[in-house]
């Protein structure tokens, strides 16, 4: 067993590093840059029942130590993901991938998950009940414990793969939502999705983003992520996948100490496409510096 190994819902990861959904496409753009098999796994672009173009542009705004996006779940739809994207991915990635799923109705989530359940390449289903950039779905399921539990139950019925529910930080009590998902059968919780944010252009006196608001991510949100991972990990027994502004090996260790079993890296991939590879390479030296033998032993080390 290597020093970086962790176990996520019954599947061994060589290391805990997972590029987050929406920042890594379906993998192959990054496979041109480095061998993506060095990753623990990655979470592919949020996939819905039907193809989506997403929101009008501009979709991106810069912030201090971060960015706002309002892409709005652009994706080719689950049929094409299964018939085109996954075969393409198979040529450059030989590990189990995390399938990220979004929807606008409980039935949509179940439909998409059922299709992806049949794919051997898929190891985990990460169910996004927290997208801030779509109307009438996405985040609305993740801001209410009953709705989040309902999605969880519907998905669990159609799959035998581990189901990880991805939660929004834009709530008053994230712990109650995480617990509701756990009670409904979730195998893991991932958090945090982006924080709802907004920027205004002083020259045009209009919002920078066409959709006005979007999801704020990047290193600025890391302390919020650490806090919420800590709160949730101390309240549930299932594994927690931590994310939100992670951009270094030190950040990985910190969020694991807060309770994360595995760690997703999001916005940082867009700025430094090699960051996940570099974090993995840097982890042993940083672990040595802080007297850590194995990453698995520090999970939730802070009480």
């Amino acid at each position: 067993m290597g020093r970086l190994n962790v176990n996520l819902c019954g599947i061994k990861l060589d290391n805990p590093i997972i590029p987050a959904s929406g920042t890594f496409g379906y993998g192959y753009e990054f496979a041109e840059l480095y061998d993506i098999n060095v990753l623990g796994t990655f979470s592919f672009k949020g996939t819905t029942k039907d193809p989506r173009f997403g929101n009008p542009t501009p979709r991106i705004a810069e912030c201090s130590a971060g960015m706002i996006n309002a892409v709005g779940l652009q994706n080719p739809g689950v049929e094409k993901v299964v018939s085109e994207e996954l075969p393409k991915l198979a040529k450059c990635f030989n590990k189990k991938v995390m399938a990220n799923v979004s929807g606008f109705a409980v039935e949509d989530y179940a439909y998409t998950c059922e299709k992806l359940d049949k794919c051997d390449q898929v190891g985990w289903l990460e169910v996004n009940v927290s997208c801030p950039n779509v109307h009438g779905g996405g985040m609305s399921f993740g801001t209410n414990p009953e709705a989040a539990a309902e999605v969880t139950r519907a998905v669990k019925k159609v799959t035998t793969k581990p189901v990880i529910i991805k939660l929004s930080p834009n709530v008053t009590d994230i712990v109650s939502i995480a617990k509701a998902c756990e009670e409904a059968g979730a195998d893991g919780i991932s958090l945090i999705n982006t924080l709802l944010g907004m920027r205004i252009d002083l020259r045009t006196k209009k919002p920078v983003i066409a959709n006005k608001m979007g999801g704020f991510s990047g290193s600025a949100i890391f302390p919020v992520a650490v806090r919420m991972v800590y709160q949730v990990a101390n309240a549930v027994k299932i594994p927690v996948v931590g994310m939100g502004g992670v951009s270094s090996a030190e950040d990985v260790i910190e969020i694991m100490l807060a309770g994360a079993t595995a760690v997703q890296v999001g916005a940082a991939n867009l700025v430094d496409p090699y960051i996940c590879r570099d974090i993995i390479n840097n982890l042993p030296a940083v672990m040595d510096k802080y007297g850590i033998n194995n990453l698995s032993e520090i999970i939730g080390g802070v009480k």
């Binding site: 753009e29 840059l33 997403g54 501009p58 979709r59 810069e62 201090s64 892409v71 496409p273 090699y274």
Partner: protein, 245 residues
């Protein structure tokens, strides 16, 4: 695409707000005219995508306009500064379709990518005409550089303070051309789209997240499907363009 560190060997003002920067380093991944590079700046989260004006064995030249805090920061960088840059981004122009008399039309800071393109087309033995459009005389840059390449150069200014008064399309109609290439603000691209009598290629701009096709921040709809301006573009064929408004 390649990530590397590049040394600033030139950073000079061409006009009040437009600067030329030369970066030295590995440029082997820059394959086509019309590509762009993406520059990381201290204290800024997102990189700055800037089109490639010219490339040599070990340098890449960019021309940028100071429009915000990032480009202002760039304009003050001393020679010798090392920059973290992603190079080899975007598709670039396809010169194989140009015919023997291509016409290049640039507007403002849309002019720079046409410089390497003109050089490339001329080296292929083609007769290149260039129309450079600016608002006023003080904004003009690179007229001489295009002439020195051997291109036939026309300049237009909106206020008539230099060259032909009006827009690039006012000159376009009097030129005999086989194909066109353009880069500039969207209203100009639309006007060229309408005025052109041949096929052509247009380079588009959009706010980008990553610049290499991962984030879907700069998507657009085309007649041939959804495209990412950064990865499937920035250059689009006239026939695939879908104007949304």
């Amino acid at each position: 695409m390649k990530q590397g560190f590049y040394k600033i060997t030139e950073n000079t003002a061409l006009t009040d707000t437009v600067f030329k920067m030369v970066l030295e380093g590995d440029v082997s991944d820059i394959k086509n005219s019309g590509e762009f590079i993406n520059i990381k700046l201290d204290g800024k989260y997102l990189r700055r995508p800037i089109s490639v004006c010219d490339v040599s064995d070990n340098t890449v030249t960019i021309i940028y306009k100071v429009v915000g805090v990032g480009t202002e920061q760039m304009s003050k960088m001393p020679l010798g500064t090392m920059l973290d840059v992603l190079v080899g981004l975007g598709n670039g122009y396809d010169t194989s379709k140009s015919g023997d008399k291509p016409l290049l039309l640039g507007g403002g800071v849309g002019v720079p990518p046409l410089y390497n393109l003109a050089k490339r087309l001329i080296s292929q033995g083609k007769k290149v005409s260039v129309i450079l459009g600016f608002n006023e005389k003080d904004e003009i840059f690179y007229e001489k550089e295009f002439k020195d390449l051997g291109a036939e150069v026309f300049v237009t200014t909106v206020d008539g303070s230099y060259g032909t008064k009006g827009f690039v399309t006012d000159v376009m109609q009097n030129i005999d051309y086989t194909y066109f290439y353009t880069c500039g603000p969207e209203p100009m691209l639309k006007a060229i789209y309408k005025a052109s009598t041949t096929s052509g290629q247009m380079s588009f701009e959009e706010r980008m997240g990553c610049g290499f096709g991962a984030c879907m921040g700069c998507s657009c709809k085309t007649l041939t499907g959804y495209k990412r301006i950064c990865k499937d573009g920035p250059v689009m064929e006239k026939e695939e363009i879908l104007w949304e408004d």
